[in-house]
Structures are given as C-alpha cells and as structure tokens.
C-alpha cells in the first residue's frame, strides 16, 4: 500500500451551480427595482421628434402625460387618420383636457400640485394646430409648465 496514491481520473471537476439561483435572484431584484411598468398603452403613433437641449423629467409623480398623434392603423377605421389626443388609454377631444388636468391634480398631494409638469408626447408629424389647441387649454387651467418630450438627437435629424 503506497501512501501516495495517484489521484484517480484526470477529468476536470464539475462546476458547482449551487450559487446560480443567488446570481439570478440578484439580477431579478435589480430589474424589479428599476422596472417602471408602462402606464399608458399607446393608441396612436408616437414617434417623438429629436432635440438635444433637453432637461430630464426626474420625478415621475409630478408629471402628467398628454399624447397626440395619428391613430394606429388598427384604430383608423373607427377614428380616422387625423391626429388625435390620447388621455389615459382613451381617445379624447381638446375640450376634455381641462377635466383631465383637474382629475390628475385631484390625485396628487396638495403641495406638489403647483410643481406638476405636463409632458406632451406628440408625434413628429402632427400639425401645430392641434398642439397649440392643447397649449391653449393648458393655459386655461393654469397648467403652465410643459415639457415637449423628445428623443435625444440633433435638431437636424428632424428634417430627414
């Protein structure tokens, strides 16, 4: 009996996968924390224009969203191809904006109401007529802070 037995087999030992669940959980928690579930399902085409002198909208709870653009192809039969406004998953008229802003304000804490910003997510192909109607309605309810939400890019990119 020799004391120094040759190690049997030259195969590599298997990699332990015991810590795999831990790693996966770590990733899972990361994505759970950073996830923001989409609030609105778009009913309209929403290809935002480009701009580079932009500010970030940091606090999500201080933002109200107004969407505008052409209805998506599957809604065009019903709603036509003219650009429309979308508020909270529904098509809306310009006259509905005032009620929408009031309703949004009612859901927010009183102290942040003056800080609310309206984010206008408007498709690049929309006519300015609609946009200025929206702005006019916003002025009527004194919602004066607006943010024209855009994609990052030089202004020249809009012309292509």
């Amino acid at each position: 009996m020799s004391k120094f037995k040759k190690k049997s087999g030259g195969g590599t030992p298997g990699i332990s996968t015991a810590s795999l669940p831990d790693i996966v959980f770590m990733l899972l928690f990361f994505f759970m924390v950073v996830t923001v579930l989409r609030q609105n399902t778009p009913l309209i085409e929403n290809i935002l224009p480009y701009a580079d002198e932009v500010e970030k909208l940091e606090k999500k709870d201080r933002v109200m969203y107004i969407y505008a653009g052409k209805p998506l192809p599957r809604y065009q039969e019903q709603f036509g191809t003219e650009a429309r406004i979308q508020l909270n998953d529904k098509f809306a008229e310009v006259s509905d904006i005032q009620a929408f802003i009031e309703a949004e304000r009612a859901t927010k804490r009183e102290e942040i109401v003056p800080l609310l910003t309206t984010s206008l997510k408007v498709d690049g192909e929309t006519n300015m007529g609609l946009v200025s109607d929206i702005k006019q309605e916003l002025r009527k309810v004194n919602a004066l802070r607006v943010n024209y939400t855009t994609r990052e890019g030089a202004a020249q990119a809009n012309l292509q």
């Binding site: 970030k56 909208l57 690049g124 607006v146 943010n147």
Partner: protein
C-alpha cells in the same frame, strides 16, 4: 422510535423559477427617463398691455406650412438659425444705458441693443409639423445656451450645461446655493425672451 427527519425540499427548480421571473421583468422593463424641452406657457390674463418693442430688437421667425423658415423676411436654413440667433442676441448695438459690456457681437444698428431687450418671436402656421417646431425651438434654446456657455467659461471656468445638470442632480455634492447664484447671473446676462404667437392659417 427513530425520529423521522423532515424530507428536504428540493431547491433545484428554484433557479428555474427565478429565471422565469427574471425574464418577465427583463421584458417589461423600460429604463427610460423622459427628457425634453421644458417651457413655461404665458398665463392667460390679457390685461397686460403688450410692451412696445423697437423693430431692430425683434427677431421674427416664421415657419410656414411647408416647414420653411423665414427670419426677418429672409428665407433661412435650419442649420443656420442658431448662428443667426446668436448674432442677433449678442449684437450689443446699444449705447449709454443700453450698452452691453460682455457682448461680442458686431454692434450692428439693425440688430438688438442688448440681450435684455432682444426678443425672439416665433410664429407657426397651423399646418407646420410638430417636429419642425421642436427643431426650431431647440435651435433657439441652443443659441441662448451657447451664449451662456461662453460666459460660464469666461466667468467661472465651467460648462453652463454641466452646471445645469449638476443643479438638477439630487446626488450632486457641492454648494448648490452658490451654483444657483452663478446660474442666475448667467441667466440674467442672456435672459430667454421667446414669445410665441398663436399660430394662424396663412396662405
């Protein structure tokens, strides 16, 4: 009697479950912070008399229904708009009380006296496309920011855009009050005076 040991739970499938959840969240995640051009709309009251503005202090930008630009009655390409706006704002043509000691412009009498007097007026057609409007807005804001950038470099040796970013950043470690004072100085040097007329239908 021998104690019956509790059977061990097989944790082998835990990884599968975790993967399933992980994939769900991966798919639904949108790591997006919206960003855009922030503006303040003018309040609704019409009681304020519009001030009388001299013609040479006005920079009139018209955008027609075919997205073409007309600046002070001259057609202009979008890529030249920023430079033209900078020349206009930074002209510093005023004398005496209206003199602008930090302006580097040509002092052309047909352009603005002082950045404080320089008004940019933007008018759209109702059929102008929104992306053109945003492009023009972006260039005009950029003109102001470029000028503030220059002054920020001269006075504080910093980048204006970086200062703005720091100011908006809640995690920035630094003297916010001092930064705010500096930003206010820059904004007072080149105040953003952008007036927007109601779009109208024009032929």
């Amino acid at each position: 009697m021998a104690k019956r040991s509790a059977p061990e739970v097989n944790a082998g499938s835990m990884a599968d479950i975790a993967f399933l959840l992980l994939i769900f969240f991966l798919v639904t995640t949108t790591i997006e912070t919206d960003s855009g051009i922030t503006r303040r709309l003018p309040p609704m009251d019409d009681t304020v008399e519009p001030p009388i503005i001299r013609k040479h202090n006005m920079f009139i930008v018209l955008v027609n229904k075919d997205d073409q630009l007309l600046v002070n009655d001259d057609p202009l390409e979008l890529k030249n708009l920023r430079q033209r706006a900078i020349e206009f704002i930074d002209n510093g043509g005023g004398t005496g009380e209206l003199a602008c000691d930090y302006c580097q412009g040509a002092g052309d009498p047909t352009m603005s006296d002082n950045p404080e007097r320089a008004v940019i007026s933007l008018q759209n057609d109702r059929l102008t496309s929104y992306k053109m409007y945003i492009a023009v807005q972006n260039e005009l804001v950029a003109a102001y920011n470029d000028l503030r950038e220059r002054e920020a470099q001269r006075l504080y040796g910093q980048s204006y855009r970086q200062m703005e970013r720091n100011f908006a950043d809640a995690n920035w470690r630094g003297d916010k009050d001092r930064l705010k004072d500096q930003l206010d100085v820059l904004k007072a040097m080149y105040p953003q005076i952008l007036s927007e007329a109601e779009p109208r239908r024009r032929e």
